[in-house]
């Protein structure tokens, strides 16, 4: 199946979210969030810190259990899955890119081992092939192949983040969760990473849910946008539409504060 076929082969949503709510006692984490994500689609979730976007992402990725709502992946009820099935999903079809590469990498394991782990987790047992694939992926994320035996601790922040992306994408997942993937990086490094991400997402036909407070990131990557405030989705729509013609006062504020910078 080519990438385009993967993308257009179905008009069924890949991920269907309905009424997702998570509370921390009296405080609302996120409330009544619903959306559909279609294959090949990139959804950006924006809002300032405390808006509930990270809570929402961790509920979607199965790291936290929501209090209410439904999440269906290809029609399967994610919340009803046993941990075995959920973990299997998260090392095959899904991937998760952490803001801090240290959370997503094994810092004591070489770059090649980091990329190879997911392959080995799903049964790859040929050293040469694993290494070949790791080398290929290092190339795709613009890390020199002669660094394959170096540990990530010897890498710059931008390289670590690119390595984390390679580690996640090596098994060709279909759905990638990204939590502020460009946070903590210098502006020039950010630009390069965004460029890389955009290419990979397009080439692989990935579906992505990306959480960020940085509107420049979503403008470049996301097809659609959800704006969150105090746990609620206050506005959603096509990225350009939301950013160029914000309807909600909060979105207007967000957009204008970016413009002021």
């Amino acid at each position: 199946m080519t990438v385009m076929e993967r993308v257009v082969a179905t008009d069924q949503p890949l991920l269907k979210v309905e009424g997702l709510t998570k509370r921390y006692g009296a405080r609302i984490g996120c409330a009544d969030v619903s959306f559909d994500l279609f294959p090949g689609e990139v959804l950006g979730i924006v809002g300032e810190s405390g808006s509930g976007k990270s809570t929402l992402l961790s509920c979607l990725a199965g790291q936290q259990r929501p209090d209410l709502g439904r999440v269906a992946y290809e029609g399967r009820d994610v919340l009803a899955m046993g941990e075995t099935e959920r973990r299997r999903l998260s090392r095959t079809d899904w991937a998760y890119v952490h803001q801090n590469p240290r959370d997503g990498l094994r810092m004591g394991v070489s770059a090649g081992g980091n990329v190879g782990e997911r392959l080995m987790a799903v049964g790859a047992r040929h050293y040469g092939q694993i290494r070949g694939k790791a080398a290929d992926w290092l190339g795709r994320v613009e890390i020199a192949v002669d660094r394959i035996d170096d540990r990530p601790s010897a890498f710059s922040g931008g390289m670590q983040q690119r390595l984390q992306i390679a580690r996640n994408l090596v098994t060709q997942p279909r759905l990638v969760f990204m939590d502020e993937p460009t946070g903590g990086l210098d502006v020039s490094v950010q630009a390069r990473l965004l460029d890389l991400l955009r290419g990979l997402v397009r080439d692989l036909g990935l579906s992505v849910i990306i959480v960020t407070h940085d509107l420049a990131v979503v403008r470049l990557l996301a097809h659609r946008l959800m704006v969150m405030k105090s746990g609620y989705v206050v506005e959603q729509g096509l990225t350009d539409q939301v950013l160029d013609d914000p309807q909600h006062a909060y979105t207007q504020l967000l957009v204008s504060s970016v413009l002021q910078v």
Partner: protein, 360 residues
Amino acid sequence: MYVAVKGGERAIDNAHAWLAEERRGDPSVPELSVAQIREQMALAVNRVMAEGSLYDPDLAALAIKQARGDLIEAVFLIRAYRTTLPRFAASSAVETAAMAVDRRISATFKDLPGGQVLGPTFDYTHRLLDFALLAEGLPAPAPGTPAKPQPVPHVTGFLNRDGLIEDAPHSEAVPPDLTREPMELPADRALRLQAITRGDEGFILSLAYSTQRGYGRTHAFVGELRIGQVAVEVDIPELGFAVEIGEVELTECETVNQFKGSRTEPPQFTRGYGLVFGQSERKAIAMSLVDRALRWKELGEDFTGAPAQDEEFVLMHADNIQATGFLEHIKLPHYVDFQAELELVRKLRAEALALQEAAE
């Protein structure tokens, strides 16, 4: 020509005979009696009973004698002996509120029902070597006051009356038994307390100290520390009531700790608990601090990565018999594994050197 080393058996027997001789020391010096150890090394005896999980001062004193004063070795002797003892019954929970106290102090209230009872403590002694003890002789008798039997209620009870401290409701749940079931993690509080009370005093002390220095801080006050005798009762099903089978000396410590309150609870103090066989004051206080630090999850606090908050770290490393065994076993022969490593290193070196030569 080579003659393999033989005679392990004789070497062991001879080593044991030598050990027995060393234990006795200079035979011109009178031998220690078990009763002397029990009476005059009482705090060592208490520690051996606490960490050996067996309340028997005579056996503990015997173990100390046999172990040449090595208390961990003595604990080990007691534990191994304990394994062979059949279990006839389980006692009812002891009633520490009814303790006949020798010592009872509170750091949170200047005066309180039951009073502050200093008891036999090192606390305010000046740590000056007392050369008078070089000579034998009886100390001057301590001035005695006739005991006025009066109830000594728990300090935390006063706080609880006003809702100022978390409630600790009575539970009929049968606690798991560390000595009869494998440790399952995560452990509940009853299991944690069991593991800590028999854990190594030095380890628990250091963990507690680390919480005071900021590694899992809990802001503890000693609400109450009490030492004394409590009755041990056993339910006899045939009789339909409990029968007192004896008394044990216990040290109990309850700490009162700061708490900010949570989504379900208004701000109130929380508790740490320590209960140890014998007069084992340092251990009881340390235990209550570590207990409190381990309760972060149920109290909705943050895990800061402090060792004393880490249940698996604390419980898996508190037992000095396990620790000393595994530590010291590395002196046993490891020829086979070492040989395997030797071959590997030789092979890796040969390959590396060959590569180097090829490069030159």
